[in-house]
Amino acid sequence: MISWPNLVSQLFNGLALGALLALISSGLTIIYGTLGVLNLAHGAMFMIGGYAGFVTYQYTESFILAVIAGSLFVMLLGVVMERVIIRHFYHRPHEDQLLVTFGLGICFVELVRLIFSSQSQLVPPPALFQGITNLGFMFYPTYRLAVVGIVAIALGALFIILYRTRLGMIVRAGIEDSVMVDSLGINVYRVFMIVFGIGAMAAGFAGIVNAPVVSLTPGIGDDILVQTFVVVVIGGVGSFPGAILGGLIAGEIISVTSMFNPGYAYVMLFAAMTLVLVVRPHGLLGVQGRE
């Protein structure tokens, strides 16, 4: 039997879950859309963002510094990764790209395991957001509420960069036709490096922002990666608005299904993905015709 307070609670929880998935997925989809690289190390970068923030927190006890350090570290990692490895794979088959990014992801996870062991690590939420808030229809962790706001701001910033700046214009043009952008005298490869950095930073930022919600373990990015791919497929590969829509849909499916039968939450998620693939092979907001 449906309990209305529970349904409303789960819908709200779906929004919070979905916002985070949207942020992680947006990084993945920007990289794919612009560079054509499906970055299977994206989950590991999410994890590294959490650990980089954790280390910063250990030394500074400042959550804000942890967020900044976590994001910047992963952005730097993304840039180095693009310059040293990924750029050699732009013109190679997709399966080579998949294998190299998958391998990098495994290396990152094992490196973190070597340094920090498998025991989980805690990053407490900032004092301002500790405790529980009464929303009237439910009690909800204050920090999770804050995460919804933080993610909304981050997505807004990404939107402005992509849709209101010259860089964003080049990126979007690059998604449509990178050869044309190159022939206009714009250094596409430098743009690619920046895009990879921004995409990685989105994962790193999400990793440290999410750290107080979960406990950090080296394998934390593995499950997220699978969900992120589902989100990208539902929303449409290469589509930034699609990542947001896909994230929110995935969050709601997981949360609402859990109310009726938790065991089927992921089954329903994959069923939804399959349905979208059948009805709209390019995803809900995907760009049709892109090679």
């Binding site: 529970n6 919070a16 062991s117 439910m138 962790p141 979960v214 938790p262 065991g263």
Partner: protein, 444 residues
């Protein structure tokens, strides 16, 4: 064989004498002193024809059970070291052990099971076929244990079970070639149930968080069955997949269920994460938490959320006050690894010590003989007092330790997380061997 004998430093004369002896021995039918006289079965006698015997170990080193798997592995490694050197503690459990088992030095291989049955089975199959493993071990996931049970029976190689809490392991999925030292879900329920009723009263409402596989379902069922006798009801049972990345949806259902007690059956990192998030969602302010099958390391990983929480466990290091062997084990373990052992390590160590004891008793690695040694039901020492294995289902009858999380101010050191509330003798807790339909298979 000749090469092996020479490596062991025998002179040419000694070699000739030994060879003559072996030839003479082989001419005598059914001479029990020579293990090689037994018919070949599984990895026997090929795997032990040299100076060493190989053991295949599969523990989760990645995934949600990685921390517990590492602790378990450390217990195995310490046991092998102690067996090979004839350590004093090992002799207390297996008096005939001098150096190695039956004079064979133990070698081992380790594979990461990631708590996945197929990966564990593949790894152990390789250990059996390529390394001629004479015994296999592993667990930390009951799904892995059940799968390895089947492999062991098929391959006729003894499976000494690692951590596995499911009723099925020595219940409906029991096998002749599998033995288990740690207790199972039903036993834990029988031990902690009365403490819960005493502490929280009768007729309470319980919410469950259950991992979706054999361990989770059988522990939850055991708890429900036991608590129903005290009028407890289940208001919700939230079943989550192993390694769920987030428990918020499940916890909202729990928070809205009106339960008095949250019974968290999760294990490994799942238990840590779900308990932390239960705190975040205010669930632990509304209801009491109980962990019926305590996960090692949960207290330190949750940063104090186990304070005041009751849990059932195989082992907690402070019982060294009562059991001298536990004290010896703690000291040896801490010296080698730098921290107090948790029950994964204890379970691993004792399981191997008992196996060594049984091989020595049998005077052979011949699997049916070793199994029959277990089936004698002999009372043997462990770190938690004397125990025995039941011949009917190969389950060790051993006490369950009930602990309660200490308040931070009462902790004497950074690893003093729990008070031992009770050490409940195993005999009164155990269900009948055939309660879950155990039918051990054949010896051959």
């Amino acid at each position: 064989m000749t090469d092996d004998l020479i490596r062991r430093g025998l002179s040419r004369r000694g070699l000739l004498q030994t060879t003559a002896g072996l030839i003479g021995g082989s001419m005598l039918p059914a001479m029990p002193a020579f293990a090689e006289d037994k018919p070949a079965i599984g990895s026997f006698p090929t795997g032990v024809s040299g100076s060493t015997a190989f053991i295949g170990i599969s523990v989760p080193r990645t995934g949600t059970y990685a921390v517990q798997g590492e602790d378990e592995l450390k217990g195995y490694q310490l046991a092998i070291e102690h067996i090979n050197e004839g350590h004093e503690l090992m002799k207390k459990i297996s008096p005939k052990t001098s150096k190695g088992v039956l004079g064979k030095e133990l070698k081992f291989g380790v594979a990461d099971s990631a708590a996945k049955p197929n990966e564990a089975v593949q790894a152990q199959q390789r250990f059996i076929s390529e390394n001629k493993a004479i015994m296999i071990t592993g667990g930390t996931s009951s799904a892995v244990a059940v799968a390895l049970n089947k492999l062991a029976q098929r391959e006729h190689v003894l499976f000494v079970c690692g951590i596995s809490g499911s009723n099925d392991t020595t219940g409906k999925d029991c096998v002749r070639y599998g033995v288990r030292q740690n207790f199972f879900g039903q036993t834990a329920a029988a031990a902690i149930g009365p403490v819960m009723v005493r502490e929280f009263g009768k007729g309470k409402k319980a919410a469950y968080l259950t991992p979706d596989y054999t361990y989770g379902h059988t522990v939850t069922k055991s708890m429900q069955d036991f608590l129903a006798t005290a009028g407890w009801t289940t208001v919700t049972n939230q079943v989550a997949p192993l390694g769920a990345p987030d428990y918020s949806s499940y916890l909202l259902n729990v928070a809205n269920s009106g339960a008095d007690v949250l019974i968290n059956v999760n294990w490994g990192h799942d238990a840590v994460l779900s308990t932390q998030q239960a705190k975040q969602f205010g669930v632990l302010d509304k209801m009491k938490l109980v962990v019926p099958y305590q996960v090692p390391f949960i207290a330190r990983e949750t940063g104090g959320l186990m304070q005041g929480v009751y849990a059932a466990t195989d082992y907690w290091w402070t019982i060294e006050d009562k059991f001298p062997l536990a004290k010896m084990f703690n000291e040896a373990f801490e010296k080698k690894y730098g921290y107090k052992p948790e029950w994964g390590a204890e379970n691993a160590y004792v399981s191997f010590a008992h196996w060594a004891h049984m091989c020595e008793q049998a005077g052979s690695f011949n699997p049916p003989d070793v199994i029959k040694a277990y089936e004698k039901g002999e009372t043997i020492p462990s770190l938690v007092g004397d125990v025995h294995y039941r011949p009917e289902d190969h389950q060790c009858v051993r006490p369950v330790i009930i602990v309660k999380g200490k308040q931070q101010k009462d902790m004497k050191n950074k690893e003093d997380w729990y008070d031992v509330v009770e050490i409940v003798p195993g005999e009164g807790l155990m269900q009948k061997p055939d309660a879950f339909g155990c039918h051990l298979g054949d010896y051959t």
